[in-house]
Protein backbone atom coordinates (compact mmCIF):
# COMPACT_ATOMS: atom_id res chain seq x y z
CA UNK A 1 0.00 0.00 0.00
CA UNK A 2 1.49 3.24 -1.06
CA UNK A 3 -0.77 6.24 -0.56
CA UNK A 4 0.39 9.79 -0.77
CA UNK A 5 0.69 11.34 2.69
CA UNK A 6 -1.17 14.39 1.49
CA UNK A 7 -4.19 12.27 0.62
CA UNK A 8 -4.21 10.97 4.20
CA UNK A 9 -4.53 14.48 5.63
CA UNK A 10 -8.27 14.25 6.58
CA UNK A 11 -7.37 11.47 9.02
CA UNK A 12 -4.59 13.51 10.59
CA UNK A 13 -6.88 16.52 11.02
CA UNK A 14 -8.92 14.32 13.36
CA UNK A 15 -6.24 12.03 14.69
CA UNK A 16 -3.80 14.69 15.86
CA UNK A 17 -6.22 16.57 18.14
CA UNK A 18 -7.46 13.26 19.54
CA UNK A 19 -3.93 12.02 20.24
CA UNK A 20 -2.70 15.29 21.73
CA UNK A 21 -5.90 15.66 23.78
CA UNK A 22 -4.78 12.70 25.85
CA UNK A 23 -1.08 13.58 25.77
CA UNK A 24 -1.61 16.94 27.51
CA UNK A 25 -2.71 15.52 30.90
CA UNK A 26 0.29 13.18 30.81
CA UNK A 27 2.64 16.05 29.99
CA UNK A 28 0.99 18.03 32.78
CA UNK A 29 2.36 15.48 35.26
CA UNK A 30 5.88 16.44 34.18
CA UNK A 31 5.75 20.21 33.96
CA UNK A 32 3.59 23.13 32.92
CA UNK A 33 5.94 24.17 30.12
CA UNK A 34 5.88 20.71 28.56
CA UNK A 35 2.07 20.68 28.72
CA UNK A 36 1.82 24.04 26.96
CA UNK A 37 4.34 22.91 24.36
CA UNK A 38 2.43 19.68 23.68
CA UNK A 39 -0.82 21.60 23.34
CA UNK A 40 0.52 24.18 20.91
CA UNK A 41 2.34 21.52 18.86
CA UNK A 42 -0.94 19.64 18.54
CA UNK A 43 -2.76 22.74 17.37
CA UNK A 44 -0.08 23.75 14.88
CA UNK A 45 0.20 20.22 13.48
CA UNK A 46 -3.56 20.21 12.92
CA UNK A 47 -3.24 23.58 11.17
CA UNK A 48 -0.42 22.14 9.06
CA UNK A 49 -2.57 19.23 7.90
CA UNK A 50 -5.50 21.55 7.20
CA UNK A 51 -3.26 23.57 4.92
CA UNK A 52 -1.89 20.39 3.30
CA UNK A 53 -5.44 19.26 2.61
CA UNK A 54 -6.25 22.69 1.18
CA UNK A 55 -3.16 22.54 -1.04
CA UNK A 56 -4.09 19.09 -2.30
CA UNK A 57 -7.73 20.03 -2.94
CA UNK A 58 -6.75 23.16 -4.86
CA UNK A 59 -4.08 21.42 -6.94
CA UNK A 60 -5.43 17.93 -7.73
CA UNK A 61 -9.11 18.31 -6.81
CA UNK A 62 -11.37 16.73 -4.20
CA UNK A 63 -11.35 13.12 -3.09
CA UNK A 64 -13.26 10.74 -0.82
CA UNK A 65 -11.33 9.09 1.97
CA UNK A 66 -12.66 5.63 2.81
CA UNK A 67 -11.80 4.31 6.27
CA UNK A 68 -10.70 0.72 6.61
CA UNK A 69 -10.29 0.15 2.89
CA UNK A 70 -7.14 -1.32 1.38
CA UNK A 71 -6.70 1.75 -0.78
CA UNK A 72 -8.49 4.57 1.08
CA UNK A 73 -8.78 6.83 -1.95
CA UNK A 74 -10.23 4.28 -4.38
CA UNK A 75 -14.01 4.09 -4.71
CA UNK A 76 -15.32 0.53 -4.94
CA UNK A 77 -18.88 -0.73 -4.72
CA UNK A 78 -18.64 -1.27 -0.95
CA UNK A 79 -16.92 2.06 -0.20
CA UNK A 80 -20.08 3.86 0.78
CA UNK A 81 -20.99 1.24 3.38
CA UNK A 82 -17.85 2.22 5.26
CA UNK A 83 -17.19 5.51 7.00
CA UNK A 84 -16.13 8.07 4.41
CA UNK A 85 -14.67 11.55 4.69
CA UNK A 86 -15.09 14.06 1.94
CA UNK A 87 -12.13 16.34 1.26
CA UNK A 88 -13.36 19.03 -1.10
CA UNK A 89 -13.55 22.79 -1.41
CA UNK A 90 -16.34 23.07 1.11
CA UNK A 91 -14.50 20.98 3.69
CA UNK A 92 -11.47 23.21 3.17
CA UNK A 93 -13.53 26.37 3.76
CA UNK A 94 -15.01 24.90 6.95
CA UNK A 95 -11.77 23.51 8.37
CA UNK A 96 -9.91 26.75 7.59
CA UNK A 97 -12.53 28.80 9.44
CA UNK A 98 -12.33 26.48 12.43
CA UNK A 99 -8.55 26.17 12.63
CA UNK A 100 -7.89 29.93 12.35
CA UNK A 101 -10.06 30.61 15.38
CA UNK A 102 -8.77 27.56 17.23
CA UNK A 103 -5.15 28.67 16.91
CA UNK A 104 -6.05 32.21 17.98
CA UNK A 105 -7.99 30.99 20.99
CA UNK A 106 -5.30 28.44 21.87
CA UNK A 107 -2.54 31.05 22.06
CA UNK A 108 -4.85 33.36 24.02
CA UNK A 109 -5.57 30.64 26.60
CA UNK A 110 -1.93 30.56 27.70
CA UNK A 111 -2.11 34.06 29.10
CA UNK A 112 -5.75 34.24 30.03
CA UNK A 113 -5.94 30.98 31.96
CA UNK A 114 -2.50 30.96 33.56
CA UNK A 115 -3.83 31.63 37.08
CA UNK A 116 -5.99 28.51 37.14
CA UNK A 117 -4.94 24.96 37.91
CA UNK A 118 -5.94 21.69 36.28
CA UNK A 119 -5.22 23.16 32.86
CA UNK A 120 -4.19 19.73 31.53
CA UNK A 121 -7.86 18.72 31.50
CA UNK A 122 -8.85 22.12 30.07
CA UNK A 123 -6.60 21.57 27.06
CA UNK A 124 -7.90 17.99 26.73
CA UNK A 125 -11.47 19.26 26.41
CA UNK A 126 -10.29 22.00 24.02
CA UNK A 127 -8.64 19.55 21.64
CA UNK A 128 -11.57 17.11 21.89
CA UNK A 129 -13.97 19.89 20.89
CA UNK A 130 -11.67 20.72 17.98
CA UNK A 131 -11.64 17.08 16.86
CA UNK A 132 -15.43 16.93 17.18
CA UNK A 133 -16.09 20.01 15.03
CA UNK A 134 -13.55 18.89 12.43
CA UNK A 135 -15.23 15.49 12.27
CA UNK A 136 -18.65 17.09 11.84
CA UNK A 137 -17.60 19.11 8.82
CA UNK A 138 -15.42 16.42 7.21
CA UNK A 139 -17.60 13.36 7.49
CA UNK A 140 -19.96 12.21 4.78
CA UNK A 141 -21.89 9.64 6.77
CA UNK A 142 -24.90 10.33 8.99
CA UNK A 143 -23.90 7.79 11.65
CA UNK A 144 -20.47 9.35 11.89
CA UNK A 145 -22.03 12.83 11.99
CA UNK A 146 -24.04 11.77 15.06
CA UNK A 147 -20.90 10.57 16.85
CA UNK A 148 -18.96 13.80 16.21
CA UNK A 149 -22.01 15.86 17.10
CA UNK A 150 -22.09 14.24 20.54
CA UNK A 151 -18.31 14.49 21.02
CA UNK A 152 -18.57 18.23 20.34
CA UNK A 153 -21.52 18.65 22.71
CA UNK A 154 -19.98 16.80 25.65
CA UNK A 155 -16.54 18.39 25.35
CA UNK A 156 -17.84 21.93 24.87
CA UNK A 157 -20.18 21.56 27.86
CA UNK A 158 -17.17 20.62 29.95
CA UNK A 159 -15.45 23.79 28.73
CA UNK A 160 -18.45 26.03 29.50
CA UNK A 161 -18.62 24.68 33.05
CA UNK A 162 -14.87 25.07 33.53
CA UNK A 163 -15.32 27.76 36.20
CA UNK A 164 -17.42 25.41 38.29
CA UNK A 165 -16.83 27.48 41.40
CA UNK A 166 -19.50 29.77 39.93
CA UNK A 167 -23.07 28.47 39.89
CA UNK A 168 -23.93 30.44 36.75
CA UNK A 169 -21.36 28.58 34.65
CA UNK A 170 -22.79 25.24 35.71
CA UNK A 171 -26.30 26.48 34.98
CA UNK A 172 -25.34 27.62 31.47
CA UNK A 173 -23.58 24.31 30.82
CA UNK A 174 -26.58 22.32 32.01
CA UNK A 175 -28.93 24.29 29.74
CA UNK A 176 -26.63 23.81 26.74
CA UNK A 177 -26.28 20.11 27.58
CA UNK A 178 -30.04 19.53 27.75
CA UNK A 179 -30.51 21.31 24.41
CA UNK A 180 -27.65 19.38 22.81
CA UNK A 181 -28.79 15.99 24.08
CA UNK A 182 -32.34 16.52 22.85
CA UNK A 183 -30.93 17.73 19.51
CA UNK A 184 -28.74 14.62 19.34
CA UNK A 185 -31.74 12.37 20.00
CA UNK A 186 -33.78 14.09 17.27
CA UNK A 187 -30.81 13.58 14.93
CA UNK A 188 -30.88 9.89 15.86
CA UNK A 189 -34.58 9.74 14.95
CA UNK A 190 -34.01 11.39 11.59
CA UNK A 191 -31.13 8.96 10.94
CA UNK A 192 -33.62 6.20 11.76
CA UNK A 193 -36.07 7.60 9.20
CA UNK A 194 -33.39 7.66 6.50
CA UNK A 195 -32.26 4.15 7.37
CA UNK A 196 -35.80 2.78 7.48
CA UNK A 197 -36.58 4.32 4.09
CA UNK A 198 -33.41 3.53 2.15
CA UNK A 199 -31.25 1.21 4.27
CA UNK A 200 -28.19 3.44 3.79
CA UNK A 201 -26.56 6.25 5.76
CA UNK A 202 -23.91 7.65 3.43
CA UNK A 203 -24.53 11.10 1.96
CA UNK A 204 -23.88 9.89 -1.59
CA UNK A 205 -26.23 6.92 -1.36
CA UNK A 206 -28.98 8.91 0.36
CA UNK A 207 -28.65 11.63 -2.26
CA UNK A 208 -28.97 9.13 -5.08
CA UNK A 209 -31.95 7.29 -3.60
CA UNK A 210 -34.04 10.15 -2.14
CA UNK A 211 -37.42 10.58 -3.79
CA UNK A 212 -39.10 13.30 -1.73
CA UNK A 213 -41.63 11.08 0.09
CA UNK A 214 -43.37 12.38 3.22
CA UNK A 215 -40.92 10.60 5.50
CA UNK A 216 -38.03 12.38 3.73
CA UNK A 217 -39.61 15.77 4.33
CA UNK A 218 -40.07 14.86 8.00
CA UNK A 219 -36.43 13.78 8.35
CA UNK A 220 -35.13 16.85 6.50
CA UNK A 221 -37.24 19.10 8.72
CA UNK A 222 -35.84 17.42 11.83
CA UNK A 223 -32.26 17.80 10.62
CA UNK A 224 -32.82 21.47 9.83
CA UNK A 225 -34.34 22.16 13.25
CA UNK A 226 -31.47 20.38 15.03
CA UNK A 227 -28.68 22.09 13.17
CA UNK A 228 -30.17 25.56 13.35
CA UNK A 229 -30.69 24.97 17.08
CA UNK A 230 -26.97 24.21 17.45
CA UNK A 231 -26.18 27.20 15.23
CA UNK A 232 -28.04 29.41 17.76
CA UNK A 233 -30.60 30.70 15.28
CA UNK A 234 -33.73 32.38 16.66
CA UNK A 235 -36.16 30.95 17.92
CA UNK A 236 -33.80 28.24 19.25
CA UNK A 237 -31.16 30.68 20.50
CA UNK A 238 -31.91 30.79 24.22
CA UNK A 239 -28.89 28.68 25.20
CA UNK A 240 -26.41 30.84 23.31
CA UNK A 241 -26.19 34.05 25.39
CA UNK A 242 -25.91 32.05 28.63
CA UNK A 243 -23.29 29.68 27.26
CA UNK A 244 -21.28 32.44 25.55
CA UNK A 245 -21.26 34.74 28.55
CA UNK A 246 -20.55 32.12 31.22
CA UNK A 247 -17.82 30.19 29.39
CA UNK A 248 -14.20 31.17 30.23
CA UNK A 249 -13.24 34.28 28.24
CA UNK A 250 -10.83 32.43 26.01
CA UNK A 251 -13.34 29.68 25.20
CA UNK A 252 -16.32 31.84 24.16
CA UNK A 253 -15.21 32.24 20.51
CA UNK A 254 -14.60 28.53 20.37
CA UNK A 255 -18.19 27.78 21.43
CA UNK A 256 -19.25 30.22 18.70
CA UNK A 257 -17.14 28.19 16.25
CA UNK A 258 -19.02 25.00 17.12
CA UNK A 259 -22.19 26.90 16.13
CA UNK A 260 -20.59 27.87 12.83
CA UNK A 261 -19.55 24.23 12.36
CA UNK A 262 -23.19 23.14 12.71
CA UNK A 263 -24.16 25.76 10.15
CA UNK A 264 -21.54 24.36 7.75
CA UNK A 265 -23.02 20.88 8.22
CA UNK A 266 -26.53 22.25 7.59
CA UNK A 267 -25.43 23.90 4.33
CA UNK A 268 -23.53 20.79 3.25
CA UNK A 269 -26.62 18.64 3.85
CA UNK A 270 -29.18 20.87 2.12
CA UNK A 271 -27.01 21.60 -0.92
CA UNK A 272 -25.27 18.29 -1.31
CA UNK A 273 -27.81 15.72 -0.12
CA UNK A 274 -31.34 17.09 0.07
CA UNK A 275 -31.26 19.34 -2.99
CA UNK A 276 -32.79 16.88 -5.42
CA UNK A 277 -35.60 15.69 -3.16
CA UNK A 278 -37.27 18.93 -2.18
CA UNK A 279 -38.74 22.06 -3.69
CA UNK A 280 -35.83 24.55 -3.40
CA UNK A 281 -38.04 27.49 -2.50
CA UNK A 282 -39.50 25.70 0.56
CA UNK A 283 -36.15 25.16 2.33
CA UNK A 284 -34.87 28.47 0.99
CA UNK A 285 -37.77 30.45 2.37
CA UNK A 286 -37.55 28.64 5.72
CA UNK A 287 -33.89 29.64 5.95
CA UNK A 288 -34.73 33.23 5.00
CA UNK A 289 -37.40 33.42 7.73
CA UNK A 290 -35.04 31.97 10.34
CA UNK A 291 -32.29 34.31 9.17
CA UNK A 292 -34.40 37.48 9.30
CA UNK A 293 -35.74 36.51 12.74
CA UNK A 294 -32.21 35.87 14.02
CA UNK A 295 -30.89 39.18 12.67
CA UNK A 296 -33.73 41.19 14.05
CA UNK A 297 -34.34 39.50 17.42
CA UNK A 298 -30.62 39.12 18.07
CA UNK A 299 -29.85 42.77 17.61
CA UNK A 300 -32.92 44.01 19.49
CA UNK A 301 -32.14 41.78 22.47
CA UNK A 302 -28.59 43.12 22.39
CA UNK A 303 -29.90 46.67 22.84
CA UNK A 304 -30.89 46.20 26.46
CA UNK A 305 -27.85 44.24 27.68
CA UNK A 306 -25.43 45.80 30.11
CA UNK A 307 -23.19 42.73 30.40
CA UNK A 308 -20.61 43.23 27.65
CA UNK A 309 -20.21 39.51 26.85
CA UNK A 310 -23.97 38.93 26.66
CA UNK A 311 -24.24 41.91 24.32
CA UNK A 312 -21.71 40.47 21.89
CA UNK A 313 -23.35 37.05 22.24
CA UNK A 314 -26.63 38.52 20.97
CA UNK A 315 -24.75 40.30 18.17
CA UNK A 316 -23.29 36.95 17.18
CA UNK A 317 -26.82 35.47 17.03
CA UNK A 318 -27.76 38.28 14.66
CA UNK A 319 -24.69 37.62 12.48
CA UNK A 320 -25.77 33.97 12.12
CA UNK A 321 -28.95 35.42 10.63
CA UNK A 322 -27.04 37.09 7.75
CA UNK A 323 -25.55 33.79 6.65
CA UNK A 324 -28.84 31.89 6.87
CA UNK A 325 -30.67 34.61 4.94
CA UNK A 326 -28.04 34.87 2.21
CA UNK A 327 -27.71 31.14 1.70
CA UNK A 328 -31.50 30.81 1.90
CA UNK A 329 -31.88 33.30 -0.96
CA UNK A 330 -29.33 31.34 -2.98
CA UNK A 331 -31.12 28.07 -2.28
CA UNK A 332 -34.55 29.46 -3.07
CA UNK A 333 -33.41 30.50 -6.55
CA UNK A 334 -31.78 27.15 -7.38
CA UNK A 335 -32.77 25.79 -10.75
CA UNK A 336 -34.11 29.11 -12.05
CA UNK A 337 -32.45 31.79 -14.14
CA UNK A 338 -32.28 33.95 -11.00
CA UNK A 339 -29.65 31.63 -9.56
CA UNK A 340 -27.14 32.59 -12.21
CA UNK A 341 -28.16 36.25 -12.00
CA UNK A 342 -27.81 36.77 -8.26
CA UNK A 343 -28.41 33.52 -6.32
CA UNK A 344 -24.83 32.34 -6.63
CA UNK A 345 -23.61 35.72 -5.38
CA UNK A 346 -25.87 35.36 -2.35
CA UNK A 347 -24.33 31.98 -1.55
CA UNK A 348 -20.84 33.43 -2.07
CA UNK A 349 -21.68 36.29 0.26
CA UNK A 350 -23.06 33.91 2.87
CA UNK A 351 -20.02 31.62 2.81
CA UNK A 352 -17.60 34.56 2.77
CA UNK A 353 -19.46 36.01 5.73
CA UNK A 354 -19.04 32.71 7.60
CA UNK A 355 -15.25 32.71 7.36
CA UNK A 356 -15.17 36.45 8.17
CA UNK A 357 -17.53 36.00 11.07
CA UNK A 358 -15.41 33.23 12.57
CA UNK A 359 -12.41 35.56 12.66
CA UNK A 360 -13.86 38.94 13.68
CA UNK A 361 -16.19 37.44 16.28
CA UNK A 362 -13.18 35.70 17.80
CA UNK A 363 -11.28 39.01 17.82
CA UNK A 364 -14.23 40.81 19.46
CA UNK A 365 -14.75 38.20 22.15
CA UNK A 366 -11.02 38.01 22.85
CA UNK A 367 -10.55 41.78 23.11
CA UNK A 368 -13.54 41.92 25.46
CA UNK A 369 -11.89 39.10 27.38
CA UNK A 370 -8.86 41.39 27.69
CA UNK A 371 -11.09 44.13 29.15
CA UNK A 372 -12.56 41.70 31.66
CA UNK A 373 -9.09 40.42 32.55
CA UNK A 374 -7.83 43.93 33.29
CA UNK A 375 -10.89 45.56 34.86
CA UNK A 376 -12.36 42.43 36.49
CA UNK A 377 -15.95 43.36 35.69
CA UNK A 378 -18.32 42.69 32.79
CA UNK A 379 -20.77 45.44 33.61
CA UNK A 380 -20.72 48.19 30.98
CA UNK A 381 -21.83 50.77 33.56
CA UNK A 382 -18.77 50.16 35.71
CA UNK A 383 -16.17 49.91 32.93
CA UNK A 384 -14.43 53.03 31.62
CA UNK A 385 -11.22 54.74 30.59
CA UNK A 386 -9.43 51.58 29.48
CA UNK A 387 -8.00 53.14 26.29
CA UNK A 388 -5.33 54.88 28.39
CA UNK A 389 -3.85 51.71 29.81
CA UNK A 390 -4.67 49.23 27.00
CA UNK A 391 -3.87 50.82 23.61
CA UNK A 392 -3.42 47.48 21.78
CA UNK A 393 -6.68 45.97 23.00
CA UNK A 394 -8.48 49.18 22.05
CA UNK A 395 -7.08 48.97 18.53
CA UNK A 396 -8.05 45.30 18.17
CA UNK A 397 -11.54 45.99 19.46
CA UNK A 398 -12.00 48.78 16.89
CA UNK A 399 -10.90 46.49 14.04
CA UNK A 400 -13.23 43.69 15.16
CA UNK A 401 -16.10 46.05 15.91
CA UNK A 402 -15.95 47.89 12.58
CA UNK A 403 -15.72 44.56 10.79
CA UNK A 404 -18.82 43.11 12.50
CA UNK A 405 -20.74 46.31 11.68
CA UNK A 406 -19.69 46.05 8.01
CA UNK A 407 -17.80 49.33 7.70
CA UNK A 408 -15.56 49.66 4.61
CA UNK A 409 -12.77 48.77 4.01
CA UNK A 410 -12.87 45.90 6.53
CA UNK A 411 -13.65 42.31 5.58
CA UNK A 412 -17.15 42.35 7.09
CA UNK A 413 -18.05 45.01 4.53
CA UNK A 414 -16.98 42.92 1.54
CA UNK A 415 -19.16 39.97 2.50
CA UNK A 416 -22.09 42.12 3.61
CA UNK A 417 -21.98 44.09 0.34
CA UNK A 418 -22.24 40.83 -1.62
CA UNK A 419 -25.21 39.87 0.57
CA UNK A 420 -27.01 43.24 0.24
CA UNK A 421 -26.58 43.39 -3.52
CA UNK A 422 -27.84 39.89 -4.22
CA UNK A 423 -30.60 39.83 -1.61
CA UNK A 424 -31.93 43.17 -2.87
CA UNK A 425 -32.63 41.57 -6.24
CA UNK A 426 -34.60 38.75 -4.58
CA UNK A 427 -36.63 40.96 -2.27
CA UNK A 428 -35.68 44.57 -1.43
CA UNK A 429 -37.24 44.31 2.05
CA UNK A 430 -34.64 41.72 3.07
CA UNK A 431 -31.78 44.00 2.07
CA UNK A 432 -33.32 46.91 3.98
CA UNK A 433 -33.69 44.81 7.14
CA UNK A 434 -30.08 43.67 6.77
CA UNK A 435 -28.89 47.27 6.43
CA UNK A 436 -30.88 48.44 9.44
CA UNK A 437 -29.50 45.59 11.55
CA UNK A 438 -25.97 46.58 10.49
CA UNK A 439 -26.56 50.16 11.57
CA UNK A 440 -27.87 49.08 14.97
CA UNK A 441 -24.85 46.78 15.29
CA UNK A 442 -22.57 49.74 14.66
CA UNK A 443 -24.43 51.74 17.32
CA UNK A 444 -23.98 48.93 19.84
CA UNK A 445 -20.27 48.62 19.07
CA UNK A 446 -20.07 52.39 19.61
CA UNK A 447 -21.83 51.97 22.96
CA UNK A 448 -19.29 49.41 24.15
CA UNK A 449 -16.44 51.55 22.85
CA UNK A 450 -17.60 54.71 24.64
CA UNK A 451 -18.47 52.94 27.87
CA UNK A 452 -15.43 50.74 28.17
CA UNK A 453 -12.56 52.60 26.51
CA UNK A 454 -13.26 56.32 26.68
CA UNK A 455 -13.47 58.50 29.77
CA UNK A 456 -10.97 59.43 32.47
CA UNK A 457 -8.11 57.03 33.12
CA UNK A 458 -9.04 54.73 35.97
CA UNK A 459 -5.37 53.78 36.59
CA UNK A 460 -5.72 50.03 36.20
CA UNK A 461 -2.35 48.56 37.07
CA UNK A 462 -3.14 45.17 35.55
CA UNK A 463 -1.08 44.37 32.43
CA UNK A 464 -2.58 41.81 30.11
CA UNK A 465 -0.17 38.98 29.20
CA UNK A 466 1.77 39.07 25.93
CA UNK A 467 0.25 35.88 24.54
CA UNK A 468 -3.18 37.51 24.61
CA UNK A 469 -1.89 40.48 22.60
CA UNK A 470 -0.13 38.09 20.21
CA UNK A 471 -3.24 36.02 19.48
CA UNK A 472 -5.37 39.13 18.89
CA UNK A 473 -2.62 40.46 16.62
CA UNK A 474 -2.67 37.25 14.57
CA UNK A 475 -6.44 37.47 14.11
CA UNK A 476 -6.16 41.16 13.16
CA UNK A 477 -3.59 40.34 10.50
CA UNK A 478 -5.97 37.75 9.06
CA UNK A 479 -8.82 40.27 9.01
CA UNK A 480 -6.56 42.78 7.25
CA UNK A 481 -5.59 40.16 4.66
CA UNK A 482 -9.25 39.34 4.01
CA UNK A 483 -10.00 43.07 3.79
CA UNK A 484 -7.23 43.77 1.29
CA UNK A 485 -7.93 40.84 -1.04
CA UNK A 486 -11.66 40.06 -0.92
CA UNK A 487 -11.75 39.17 -4.64
CA UNK A 488 -8.95 36.71 -4.17
CA UNK A 489 -10.67 35.07 -1.18
CA UNK A 490 -13.94 34.73 -3.09
CA UNK A 491 -12.35 33.30 -6.22
CA UNK A 492 -9.83 30.99 -4.50
CA UNK A 493 -11.66 29.77 -1.38
CA UNK A 494 -15.37 30.46 -1.73
CA UNK A 495 -15.85 29.54 -5.40
CA UNK A 496 -14.31 26.04 -5.00
CA UNK A 497 -16.57 25.49 -1.99
CA UNK A 498 -19.66 26.29 -4.05
CA UNK A 499 -18.33 24.13 -6.86
CA UNK A 500 -17.84 21.24 -4.44
CA UNK A 501 -21.50 21.44 -3.45
CA UNK A 502 -22.39 21.03 -7.12
CA UNK A 503 -24.20 24.35 -7.46
CA UNK A 504 -21.67 26.46 -9.37
CA UNK A 505 -23.12 28.38 -12.29
Amino acid sequence: MNVDLLLQSPVFILGIPLLFAFLTPLADKVSKELRNAVFIIGLLLTALFVSLMAYEVYTIGSWTYVFGAEDPTAITDVSFFRITFLADGFAVLATLTIIITAVGVGIYSFGNMKDFDDLGKFYTLFLLTLAGVMGMVLTSDLFNLFVWFEVTSIASCGLIAYHNERGESVEAALKYMIISVIAGLLLLFSIGFFYGEYGVLNYFLIRDSMDGAFIDILAIGLVMVILSMKASSVPMHMWAPDAYSEAPDSITPFIAITSLGSLFVLFRLIFFVFRGAVEPSSIGNLLIILGVLSMFVGVSMALKQSDVKRLIAYLSVSQIGYMMMAVGVGFATLGTADYGAFGVNAVEGGFFHMINDGVYKALLFLSVGGIIYAADTRDLNRLGGLAHSMPFTTFFFIIGGLSIAGIPPLSGFSSKLLIYKSVYLYNPVLAIIALVVSIVTLALIGKIFFNAFLGPDQKIGMKIPRSMILSMGVLTVIIVIFSLFPNYVVSEIIAPAIEALGVAV
Binding site: E168, E171, L174, I178, V181, L185, G192
Partner: protein
Protein backbone atom coordinates in the same frame (compact mmCIF):
# COMPACT_ATOMS: atom_id res chain seq x y z
CA UNK B 1 -48.14 -8.13 7.99
CA UNK B 2 -50.13 -8.13 11.22
CA UNK B 3 -50.62 -5.57 13.95
CA UNK B 4 -47.82 -7.13 16.00
CA UNK B 5 -45.24 -5.73 13.55
CA UNK B 6 -46.23 -2.26 14.60
CA UNK B 7 -46.00 -2.98 18.33
CA UNK B 8 -42.37 -1.74 18.70
CA UNK B 9 -43.20 1.48 16.87
CA UNK B 10 -46.22 2.09 19.10
CA UNK B 11 -43.90 1.60 22.09
CA UNK B 12 -41.44 4.09 20.58
CA UNK B 13 -44.12 6.75 20.21
CA UNK B 14 -45.36 6.10 23.77
CA UNK B 15 -41.85 6.40 25.21
CA UNK B 16 -41.06 9.60 23.31
CA UNK B 17 -44.33 11.26 24.31
CA UNK B 18 -43.81 10.25 27.96
CA UNK B 19 -40.26 11.59 27.89
CA UNK B 20 -41.21 14.84 26.21
CA UNK B 21 -44.02 15.37 28.74
CA UNK B 22 -41.57 14.95 31.62
CA UNK B 23 -38.95 17.25 30.04
CA UNK B 24 -41.44 19.99 29.27
CA UNK B 25 -43.68 19.99 32.32
CA UNK B 26 -41.61 18.81 35.32
CA UNK B 27 -39.70 21.40 37.32
CA UNK B 28 -37.35 18.98 39.06
CA UNK B 29 -34.05 18.86 37.15
CA UNK B 30 -33.41 15.21 38.01
CA UNK B 31 -36.85 14.27 36.70
CA UNK B 32 -36.11 16.21 33.49
CA UNK B 33 -32.94 14.19 33.03
CA UNK B 34 -34.91 10.99 33.61
CA UNK B 35 -37.28 12.17 30.89
CA UNK B 36 -34.36 12.60 28.51
CA UNK B 37 -33.22 9.08 29.36
CA UNK B 38 -36.72 7.79 28.48
CA UNK B 39 -36.56 9.52 25.06
CA UNK B 40 -33.12 7.99 24.62
CA UNK B 41 -34.54 4.51 25.18
CA UNK B 42 -37.30 5.28 22.70
CA UNK B 43 -34.69 6.22 20.09
CA UNK B 44 -32.74 3.03 20.74
CA UNK B 45 -35.86 0.88 20.45
CA UNK B 46 -36.71 2.67 17.19
CA UNK B 47 -33.33 1.84 15.67
CA UNK B 48 -33.41 -1.78 16.80
CA UNK B 49 -36.93 -2.32 15.49
CA UNK B 50 -35.93 -0.82 12.13
CA UNK B 51 -33.10 -3.32 11.86
CA UNK B 52 -35.39 -6.33 12.19
CA UNK B 53 -35.97 -8.29 9.00
CA UNK B 54 -38.15 -11.39 9.13
CA UNK B 55 -36.25 -14.60 8.37
CA UNK B 56 -32.80 -12.98 8.42
CA UNK B 57 -30.06 -14.08 10.81
CA UNK B 58 -27.53 -12.14 12.85
CA UNK B 59 -24.43 -11.20 10.84
CA UNK B 60 -22.02 -13.68 12.46
CA UNK B 61 -20.11 -15.69 9.87
CA UNK B 62 -18.97 -18.57 12.04
CA UNK B 63 -21.10 -21.67 11.17
CA UNK B 64 -23.93 -19.44 9.93
CA UNK B 65 -26.87 -21.02 8.06
CA UNK B 66 -26.99 -20.21 4.37
CA UNK B 67 -29.68 -17.54 4.62
CA UNK B 68 -29.60 -13.76 4.33
CA UNK B 69 -28.09 -11.68 7.11
CA UNK B 70 -29.23 -8.34 8.48
CA UNK B 71 -27.01 -5.28 8.07
CA UNK B 72 -25.28 -4.63 11.40
CA UNK B 73 -25.19 -0.82 11.00
CA UNK B 74 -28.31 -0.03 13.11
CA UNK B 75 -27.09 -2.30 15.88
CA UNK B 76 -23.74 -0.54 15.91
CA UNK B 77 -25.58 2.77 15.93
CA UNK B 78 -27.73 1.64 18.86
CA UNK B 79 -24.71 0.52 20.86
CA UNK B 80 -22.99 3.84 20.20
CA UNK B 81 -26.11 5.69 21.21
CA UNK B 82 -26.39 3.70 24.48
CA UNK B 83 -22.77 4.49 25.37
CA UNK B 84 -23.19 8.19 24.52
CA UNK B 85 -26.45 8.21 26.48
CA UNK B 86 -24.72 6.96 29.63
CA UNK B 87 -22.01 9.59 29.26
CA UNK B 88 -24.42 12.49 28.73
CA UNK B 89 -26.73 11.39 31.57
CA UNK B 90 -23.78 11.13 33.95
CA UNK B 91 -22.50 14.56 32.90
CA UNK B 92 -25.91 16.19 33.31
CA UNK B 93 -26.42 14.60 36.74
CA UNK B 94 -23.03 15.85 37.86
CA UNK B 95 -24.00 19.35 36.72
CA UNK B 96 -27.15 19.04 38.84
CA UNK B 97 -25.05 18.03 41.87
CA UNK B 98 -22.87 21.15 41.42
CA UNK B 99 -25.95 23.31 40.90
CA UNK B 100 -27.44 21.99 44.14
CA UNK B 101 -24.22 22.95 45.96
CA UNK B 102 -24.31 26.51 44.60
CA UNK B 103 -28.02 27.31 44.52
CA UNK B 104 -29.31 24.92 47.20
CA UNK B 105 -32.12 23.78 44.94
CA UNK B 106 -32.77 21.43 42.03
CA UNK B 107 -35.87 23.25 40.84
CA UNK B 108 -35.52 24.54 37.29
CA UNK B 109 -37.25 27.80 38.29
CA UNK B 110 -34.33 28.61 40.58
CA UNK B 111 -31.76 27.97 37.85
CA UNK B 112 -32.29 31.34 36.15
CA UNK B 113 -29.49 33.46 37.51
CA UNK B 114 -27.62 33.81 34.20
CA UNK B 115 -30.14 36.33 32.96
CA UNK B 116 -29.64 38.81 35.79
Amino acid sequence: MNWFNFFPLIMVVTLVIMGLYVVLFKKNLIKMIMGIAIIQNGANLFLVSLAYREGYVAPIWTSAPATDMVLPTPHALTLTSIVIGVATTALMLSFVIMLKKHYGSINSDDARRCRE
